[in-house]
Every structure is written in structure tokens, then in C-alpha cells.
Symmetry: C2
Subunit: 535 residues, 2 copies
């Protein structure tokens, strides 16, 4: 790339002079402003290049010595990064938890970036602090529906917080379990609490050999990270088997707890899932709340995906019992339709976060309203604005429409798959996620008649078909579904399945038909046909 000169004048220019609409970057900016969908459609190349080829454009570890002209850099980015990125907003991209988002999110994101507030403290965020606190209160209200006189005393209370805003569901889940752990091992007489004395002394003080977190085998992998990070160990993340509909098997849960207690290990938390990542199912939250109450342990609900179902009058009851959770994770960059990087954990008890409170001399002073005194992260951007905007502009009824639409679309897609001679629905949608696989009806019949060993052999071949099919579909770039491996009722061992998430309101029935049509066409490829012939 041609080089500019590094001098103070150049430097001053790049900090002060905005892009002109006729430069390359200005033109891109204008194109995104005028028609973001068109921009993405025109600039992202559908057909996938091998990752190794793309890596060649990002191969140097040397930081360029001299400055580069913005236009030259922008052209590089347009050709090598934008063109080779993933069209996550495409209505035919129904494999991961991404979607198009409301148009106002883009200009408001720019406003947020331009203001460059740091939410760790009031001195660098002022009005953004009460705004974020309001967002947390709104989500608290959505989940817990506390009486109206509850909120005024807590929402802007410097001694409390109704939750914590963060970069995503993983940090939210970790924060919830961190609070649970620190509350279990709270200061007690001479014992100054786990935050101060650490885990080993805490176990000793309580005379126990460990603490465990229990979740179904559909639990998100962030819980494993949490168990590692918090010092519990992954052995103490107990993955309980699921029964009907990918929901936790309550009897198995009781057995696991007994097994733990026999080993002098105390249940720290039960984690219910409201929208499993892979299949979109909801655990029996009422029964889990009962059991957590019986055990006297923390009850966390990971509603990163399914939380916004609470907007829907029709479907809210699927999450019944969530209002009994001590903490709830909700991701804003999922079904609140906010751009990537926004999650929340909400605590029923506004004083719960005091278990992880921390201070410093230059900020987060005692009594301040600085949000950073009880967040896992430090410096953070003002992303809460985008949630605030979504809740205000879209409104409860707007989100209800989105939720209802997604669930309805998933049912329609499930019915398409059921009716199709070449596919098998492996998990019906409870919310808006379903799984299926390529398995022509003749093979379905063979499988039904076969013994366990033969079933195992056939399923292993179908797994390979599934894997190739997903890969080729992704590479072709017209439509996209994801894949995973699941142990599911009726299938013996783990099988590989295709996974579809129906959250983009721009996804139509026609597009879903084309998803299946694309897969049927790919299945006709010799490599896949050769596999199927082995059955």
C-alpha cells in the first residue's frame, strides 16, 4: 500500500477531519447509511473461500512503520475482510443466533461510539449510568413483576443493583455463579468470607469437600468455563441427563444431588435453561425452583436465548417459574435485536451484588453510584443505550410480535420437514429452534426395523452425510444451517443433526423451502450418494 508521512500535521488531520462522502470510506459509510441490507448483499461474497486462502491476507506480524492512506486501507478491508465475512443478517442464514436488526440500531450505535462513554464510573458516563440502571430495572420488571413500589427504592440506589450489564451471556452466567458462590461463603464470625479468604478456607470453614453446580446436559459451555474459573473444577459442573424434550430429568437431578451429598459436596446452584442453545427447549423451572428451595441453594436461569419469550402473552407461560430464580441471564444481542456485545444478568435481590462489591481509591468509592463496583468487567461502552432504544421504540408489543413470529415460523419449518420425504425432524421446536437431519423415508423405515447394532452403523453414516451436507451448504453460501451432536431420546448414542434458529423476521416460508431444496440438491453429490449407498 502507498504510504503517507508521519508528522504532526498528518496526525492532527486524522484526529479532526471527517471523511468526505467521495472518498472510499465515505462512500462505504454512505452506502451503509442509505441501505445496509443492499450493502451487505452487494459486498459480501456468497461463495466461501478456504480459510487458508483468506489467512494469506492477514499473514504479516509486522506493524507497518509508516502511515497508510485511509482510502487504500479501506479498499483493502472491502476486498479482503468485508467480502470474506459472513452475511449473518441474511434471511437465509438460519443456523446461528444472528438476525437482521432494526434500522435505528446503526445510527444509535454511531452516536454511542461518538460519545465514547465509559460506564465503569459516573465521571465518564453521567446520564448513561441512570439509563443503564433503568434498563436493568425494566428487565427485572419483565422477569419478576415486583409491585410498582418496589422499584423506586432500588433502581438508583447506590447500595444496590438490580443486575449487571456486560458484554454477553458468558460473563452474565459467570457473574451469577460468582455471586452465588460468594453468598454461600459469606462472612460468618471470624471467617471473613470467600472473597477475602479464598475457596479452600471456605470449604474448610463449612466442613465440606466441594461445591457443585447442576445443569442439564444441554447447559451452555460457558458454565464449564465458570466452574473452571471460579476454582470449583469442571468435575463439579454436574451435567444431568435430559428426558423428554431435552429437559432436565428431575429424578436424575435428585440422584445426582444425593450422590454429591454422599461425597460431602454441597449443591451451590441449580441452573435451569430457558431456551437451550442447541434445541431451544425450556427446563421445568417451577419444579427446579421447588427443589432449589428444598436444598437451600441458588437457582439461576440461563435465559440468554429464551428470556424475551416473556414479552409474549401467548408463550410467556413456557417460562413459568423463572420469577422464582435468584438470577437470570438475558442476552441483548440475541432476541432483543441489539448488535453483538450486550448481555445482562438480573438478580432478584437487589443487594445480591454486594457479595462481589469492590472499590478503588480513584473511582468506585464507597457510596458512589459507579456501576463498576459490582461488574466483572471494568471499562465498558454505553451499549445499554441500544437496549433502552429497543425497549422504547419496539415496545413490549413489538417484541411480542417478533417472538410470536419466530415460534410460528419454527412450527411451519418443522411441518415442512415432517412432510418432506428426505428429512427427519429430530427435535420439534418448543421456542424457535429445531433440529433435523437428512434421512430419506426409506432409510427411516430401515432404521425402524433394525436392531441396535445396525442402527448404530446407519446413524454413523448419516452423521457423515449430515456433516458434509452442512459444510457444502455453508460453502455454497446461499443458505445456512448449523450442526451439532446430541444424545436424544430414541436415538441411542449421540447423533449429528442440523440446527435451525428462526429469529430473523425477514425469513419467509419461501426461504425455508429453499433451505431444504438446497440441501436436497447437495445430497445428490456423488460423495454423499456413495455414503448413502452403504446403508
Amino acid at each position: 500500500m502507498p504510504k503517507a508521512r508521519a508528522n504532526l500535521e498528518t496526525l492532527y488531520r486524522i484526529f479532526t477531519v471527517p471523511e468526505e462522502p467521495d472518498t472510499t470510506l465515505g462512500a462505504i459509510d454512505k452506502a451503509i447509511t442509505d441501505d445496509v441490507a443492499g450493502f451487505l448483499q452487494n459486498h459480501i461474497v456468497a461463495t466461501e473461500r478456504p480459510l487458508e486462502e483468506i489467512e494469506a491476507s492477514f499473514a504479516s506480524s509486522a506493524i507497518p512503520e509508516e502511515p497508510t492512506y485511509v482510502s487504500d486501507y479501506t479498499e483493502f478491508v472491502q476486498d479482503n475482510l468485508v467480502a470474506q465475512s459472513v452475511h449473518t443478517a441474511a434471511p437465509g442464514f438460519v443456523g446461528h443466533m444472528t438476525s437482521a436488526f432494526p434500522y435505528f440500531m446503526l445510527p444509535l450505535s454511531r452516536l454511542m461510539t461518538a460519545l465514547n462513554q465509559n460506564l465503569v464510573k459516573v465521571e465518564t458516563s453521567k446520564a448513561f449510568t441512570p439509563m443503564e440502571r433503568q434498563v436493568l430495572a425494566m428487565l427485572h420488571h419483565l422477569i419478576y413483576r415486583c409491585p410498582d413500589d418496589f422499584y423506586p427504592s432500588w433502581i438508583h440506589n447506590s447500595q444496590a443493583a438490580l443486575g449487571a450489564f456486560c458484554s454477553g451471556g458468558t460473563i452474565a452466567n459467570i457473574t451469577a455463579l460468582w455471586v452465588a458462590r460468594n453468598r454461600l461463603f459469606a462472612p460468618d464470625g471470624d471467617f471473613r468470607g470467600i472473597a477475602q479468604e479464598g475457596l479452600a478456607r471456605s470449604l474448610k470453614h463449612h466442613g465440606i469437600d466441594g461445591v457443585a453446580v447442576l445443569v442439564s446436559e444441554r447447559g451452555h459451555y460457558s458454565l464449564g468455563k465458570a466452574a473452571d474459573l471460579l476454582g470449583l473444577g469442571r468435575d463439579q459442573l454436574v451435567k444431568v441427563k435430559t428426558g423428554q424434550n431435552n429437559r432436565i430429568d428431575l429424578q436424575a437431578l435428585r440422584q445426582e444431588v444425593r450422590r454429591l451429598q454422599d461425597q460431602n459436596i454441597r449443591p451451590l446452584a441449580l441452573v435451569g435453561i430457558a431456551g437451550t442453545t442447541e434445541t431451544g427447549n425450556v427446563d421445568p423451572l417451577e419444579a427446579m425452583a421447588d427443589f432449589a428451595g428444598e436444598l437451600g441453594c441458588h437457582f439461576h436461569v440461563d435465559a440468554a436465548w429464551g428470556g424475551p419469550t416473556l414479552f409474549s402473552d401467548r408463550h410467556r407461560s413456557l417460562l413459568a417459574g423463572i420469577e422464582r430464580a435468584d438470577s437470570v441471564t438475558i442476552d441483548a444481542h440475541k432476541q432483543l435485536y441489539v448488535p453483538m456485545g450486550a448481555g445482562m444478568v438480573i438478580f432478584k435481590d437487589p443487594t445480591a451484588v454486594s457479595a462481589i462489591e469492590h472499590h478503588a481509591a480513584y473511582i468506585l468509592r464507597h457510596g458512589s453510584k459507579d456501576l463498576g463496583s459490582h461488574t466483572l468487567e471494568g471499562s465498558r461502552p454505553g451499549k445499554a443505550l441500544l437496549v433502552h432504544a429497543g425497549l422504547s421504540i419496539v415496545g413490549r408489543k413489538g417484541y411480542e410480535l417478533l417472538i410470536d413470529l419466530g415460534i410460528e415460523r419454527a412450527r411451519i419449518f418443522a411441518e415442512m420437514i415432517r412432510q418432506h420425504p428426505d428429512f427427519e425432524l429430530t427435535s420439534a421446536p418448543e421456542l424457535n429452534i429445531l433440529t433435523y437431519r437428512y434421512c430419506p423415508s426409506a432409510i427411516q423405515q430401515t432404521l425402524a426395523a433394525a436392531g441396535p447394532q445396525e442402527q448404530f452403523r446407519i446413524n454413523a453414516i448419516l452423521d457423515q452425510v449430515c456433516q458434509l451436507l452442512q459444510k457444502y451448504q455453508r460453502e455454497a453460501g446461499k443458505t445456512f444451517v448449523s450442526r451439532t451432536r446430541l444424545r436424544m431420546t430414541g436415538y441411542g448414542e449421540e447423533i449429528t443433526v442440523l440446527r435451525s434458529v428462526l429469529a430473523n423476521p425477514l425469513t419467509t416460508d419461501e426461504i425455508l423451502m429453499s433451505v431444504l431444496a438446497d440441501e436436497c440438491e447437495i445430497a445428490r453429490q456423488p460423495e454423499i450418494q456413495a455414503l448413502l449407498e452403504q446403508i
Copy 2:
């Protein structure tokens, strides 16, 4: 606010129709595009309103039932949020680690938001994955300067990572200590490692009673969070006293280590600071590296602030020894001039992150290049693009100019303070941060002649002066410095000081003179004069 109607047509519109330039949001968007500095100057109200008043605009916990028109919402945001936010980019706002940023950051942020990639996995980020890996390699190269043939084998290696990108320095520091902890307690014979078995069993396996992290008393508060989160306990974050220039006292460090060893507590990590948050000083990194080597423990350098000093040929030597660190934290939203929410931890050994590796069935599969298999966070935005852009467009020499400029400006400001009859420089700038206090020369002389008790009394009054002065200056909104409390050589107990960070290239000498002039004017207020008369 007037309400729109929630129906499918409205919904479809907000997902597809862009803002028009003549609407309120369109006009704001255009104003930011055309002249961001002017927009901030015109729309942020300088004079501070009490936080309690601002809270009244964010008091409701109810999510609006019906949709709101975007224009009405935007007007609300303009009047109640933008107007009452903090002008962090103002050249007279020299109290926290914020600055104006290069103009291209805004349109590239919009591009990043529009693409909405999720960096947790290749399937939702494609070219963004190698781009982020390249950024990590560039920073690795900046710190460690490994030979050119080192990088090709590691940069895009699925079994390794040269670091982890994250939302900020706190997550970076936590990640570094997480890796250190898991490497110390690696699998060993029957012992399956801390990630699996947890901290209590790990201590038992090693026959020790605890592990400690040692850092100077200037260490960032995120290290306390890390000690809590990782289960070590804050007792085991040993804050070693500082000697000359706010640097760790090496003799005291040795003593603390001996004390720990006597208690059967093993040093897990030494943390050196390259740019203390409060005073901008750099620990003796070479000596600390030597000592960490002697102890056989992890050496982490928190260079969240000072890392980019490595760009400067003139000042790089201040950080000598950083290339011997096992891990280094660098914040991109500080001296890489990227908007809020971007940090990195870099590991010398590209296989170090395998200590915290994790997988899932639907993503992060073994052998994949998914970045999420070794990050603390899960879903993450493509912020690495902005670092990539900064390094490419500004270049090494451009950043060098910025670093040199900031250090030079800090020296000039220090000299202004030294020469001024009403101020006392409490810590001279080593990098671009300094502290001072309002202390007229007559009082300086009184203090010099006074005994310890009288000094204590006078300093307590000066603390109050400092606190009020900083508050009134912030409220007036013309210029801003922060304040902190520090125990410093020559001052006995902790004193309150004003703190200035000189990183905004648009800050001129005239502005720095006005910072002091504003303070002198505020000091003439009766409340402050009454305090000073007590001396």
C-alpha cells in the same frame, strides 16, 4: 411520548427502512458524520446537573407497551442522555484515560456494527478470525520481537493463540492469571489438573496452603477481582509497598515472598505494572523478571495503559524487561485510540492458552480455528478491526508521535505546576500521567517546617480542599481532572491529589494553563478559603 402501532407492517419497516436524513435521527447521524467534534461540543451541556435530577428521566421500570416513533425517542435521547453525558473527547478533559480518536474509527465502527460478526467462531466471522489473529500477532511482535520465522508457524495455528482479544483490561488481567493458575496446577499423573478437579484438590496435590499474586500497592483493582473470582481470595493478592517513583519496592517484595513461603503459600504470579493507573509509573520489569525466574512463577505485566510506549524509539527503554513477561495486558481503548470496549492479553508462549481451552459440540470443535475456544468471553464483536485499522493507518511512527507528544505534554504541564505558586507537584510524570495538589507556597513552607502531627493536620485540610476543588471543577464543566488518594514517599499517610492524564493530542499548552486557571478561580470560593484559613 406519542405511540406508534405494533403490527407486522410496522415491524417489517423498522427492520428494513433506513433513517432519512431529514428525520431527527437522520439529522443527528449526519451531524456526527460531518463534524463529530462540533456535534459533541454543541450537544453536550457543559454545566453538570445533579445526578438525582437526571435520574428522574430514567425512573420508570415499566417497559412501554406500545412502540414509540423513532423521532420522538431520538429527541428524548438528545435532551436527556446526550446533553447530560460527559464530553470525554474534549481536549480540556484531562482527568481520565479518554481522548478524541482518529476520525476513521467512527465509519469503521459502523461498518463493524453493520456486519455484526460474532468472533466466537469462524462460522459467524470468517475473515474476521484471521484478522483478529493477525492483530494479536502484531502486538506479540511489538512486545516480544520474536524472529520473523517464529510467526508463520503460530499466527493461524489452530492449536495455539498468541493472545486473546476481549472487552478490556480487566478481562485481560483475569485471563492472564487464570492461565497462570491453570498452568501451575496442570495435570500431573493421576491429578487431572485444576480445570477439572478445582482449587482445593490442587492445593492438596501440591501440598500447599494457598497461592498468591504479588503486585505493588499501585496495582489495578481488577487484580483484586481476579483473586476473588479465581478462588484465591483477596488475602492472597499481596500489595507490596512502593519506593521511589511509585515503583514496587524490591526488597519488600522479597520479604513478602519469604513471609508467604513461611506460611506454605506459593507465589503464583508477580505482576509488574507498565503505567500505573494513578501515577503512570513503570515497575522495574527487568528485576521483577529475574525474581520471577528465580521463583519459577508466572510474570505478568499489566501494560493496559503504558504498553503503546513500545512504539516510541525514544521512550521504549522505560519498559525494558517486558519482553520477558509470560503475559502482557494492553488496552486498545486507551493508547491505541480505539473506542471503548477493546482489550488484549498477549502470551509469550503460543501454547499457554491451552490451559484454559474449552470445547462444545456445536462450535469450538477440536481442531477448529474458532477463537472462542480460549477466550473468557463467548460471543464477541469484531472490534479487532479497529485495532487493525489503527495499526495500519496510523502506523508505528504515527503512534510514536502520539506517545512522544503525550509524554512531552505531561512534562510541560509538570513544569507549569512546579512554577505555579499555588500548586505542588506530587508525582512527576514518567509517562504521561502526573498528580498534583492545590497547596500555595506559603503552606508548602509551613508544612516543611512542621512536625509530623501538624503535617498530618494540614494535609487533612488540603485533602478537603482537593476534593471540593475537583468536584466544583467537574460541575463547572470547562475543564476536568480526576482525584485519588495515594500514600507517597515524603507525605506520611495517604493524601488526596489531583490526577491528570495527557493522552489527547488535541490538548494544547493553552488548555493546560486554563486547567490551572480554573482551579485557582475555584479556590477563591468562600468555602475553600475558609478551609485554607484553618491552616
